[in-house]
Symmetry: C2
Subunit: 237 residues, 2 copies
DNA sequence: TCGCTATGGTCAACTGCGTTGGCATAAGAT
DNA sequence: ATCTTATGCCAACGCAGTTGACCATAGCGA
């Protein structure tokens, strides 16, 4: 068994599969993303991936140590998509806002994949680049190391937390989604005001309110907080 | 197979299992919580649950339509634990803070279970009670219906989002946890300052910073925001 | 007290999952 | 042309959720 997995760059012999396709790490990841989109966050299986790539499932173990490592590669690809083409403008507020929205957006636009990876640390190239970018913006804005660390933590966790939550509800398997919608219709929308007066009162409003993400608002609040902290530093010394 | 599942209150004939235990919905849920704690968030299986309860896995289908419905019941139990013994003090800021910390705390104290349920709508009794409580606090604080709906959305999503993220990292399967820690040690802590200067600079700080949750701070920010909105309402009319 | 019936527990089986060890073969070096 | 070995394939293992058929018995009406 392949205890050793050859990294993509080091591969020399690219032998085509039974069906003629030539495998690549990126081809595998992209196909995995497609399967996730098509079949939901539990729909990525080694067998299905093998079928889609027209290769044996076990072949995948030549490229990744297991499904977990494939998951990490998928996560890093998402971060890569978020950063593609970005460069700092020099305005910290604008840059942080853009980074946050881009990362959140990349995850949310692949909700089924995001569910699998938001809470993981990949340590791969794109993740490192993103962290470096955020920290760089904070330091150039004038935050001392200690404050930069704290703010970095809040910023990245809030971004990932909302990404995870938003992605999770977008990515529910169809059955669960229908179940949740059904609960909304059959339970929340019909609650008698005798027992649940306040829910009954806002139910119609929530129907439109709850579909949008609360992230943009929360992000602005956070940026306000950072601005206040920077003001404090400037006036005090 | 049992298309019809008899709700717990309606059960009449409580026949003991092969091993003598008498099944209950709550006994099943509590055993499930124990299994989740002991075996991680993927460690709850029908077979294992049957083993722990000394009954056949298929028996569980007499109580829940499937593992998904059991999951929802587990989620509602968590919310129930969060609210147990709580009653409003009348001070909206204190009450909202307490509700947020209790809900976040209940999920985080059962991280493996939280991972499965944070993004689900159960529509069961405890969830409804929690929603009603939050909305009630907001309305009594003086927020008009429309604002209450928006703030409710931000509040509950932020609480759940951080709960989901914090729980997810606490609940990683041991293998993944070790993998992530290893990445931290082998990659982040050793990044050369030539390529990633800002990460290298804060790496020692982050080691202590990243273990704590960013939720309490984020919650206070949100409460500040609500306070400001209430001030605006008071002075303007 | 007796029997009927529906509840609720059990058994065996199906499909699909990740993963592994052994094997075959073609790509690339010589 | 030949050799090595990287890389793909095959068969199999154990475990998952779920289902249908079967059976024991609790609790009811007589």
């Amino acid at each position: 068994m392949p205890k050793i997995v050859v990294p993509d760059e080091k591969r020399r012999r690219r032998r085509p599969t039974r069906g003629g396709t030539i495998l690549t790490e990126t081809l595998i990841v992209e196909t995995a993303l497609r399967l996730l989109r098509e079949h939901g966050s539990t729909g990525l299986t080694a067998r299905r991936l093998g079928l889609a790539l027209d290769c044996d499932p076990s072949t995948l173990y030549r490229y990744f140590r297991g499904m977990d490592e494939l998951t990490l590669a998928i996560g890093d690809t998402l971060i890569g998509q978020a950063l593609r083409g970005w460069s700092p403008s020099g305005d910290w507020r604008h840059d942080l806002g853009t980074l946050g929205r881009r990362i959140h957006g990349a995850y949310v636009s692949h909700p089924q994949a995001a569910v699998l990876t938001t809470a993981r640390v990949t340590g791969r190239a794109n993740e490192l680049a993103a962290d470096e970018a955020v920290l760089s913006v904070l330091r150039h804005a004038g935050l001392p190391v200690r404050e930069a660390a704290a703010v970095y933590h809040a910023f990245i966790d809030q971004t990932l937390a909302f990404a995870a939550l938003d992605a999770a509800s977008l990515a529910l398997p169809n059955a669960a989604l229908r179940a949740d919608e059904e609960i909304w219709r059959s339970t929340y929308a019909r609650l008698p005001s005798a027992t649940h007066p306040h829910i009954a009162e806002v139910a119609p409003l929530l129907a439109t309110e709850m579909v949008a993400s609360a992230y943009p608002g929360a992000l602005e609040l956070l940026l306000d907080g950072i601005a206040a902290r920077l003001d404090g530093l400037a006036t005090r010394g």
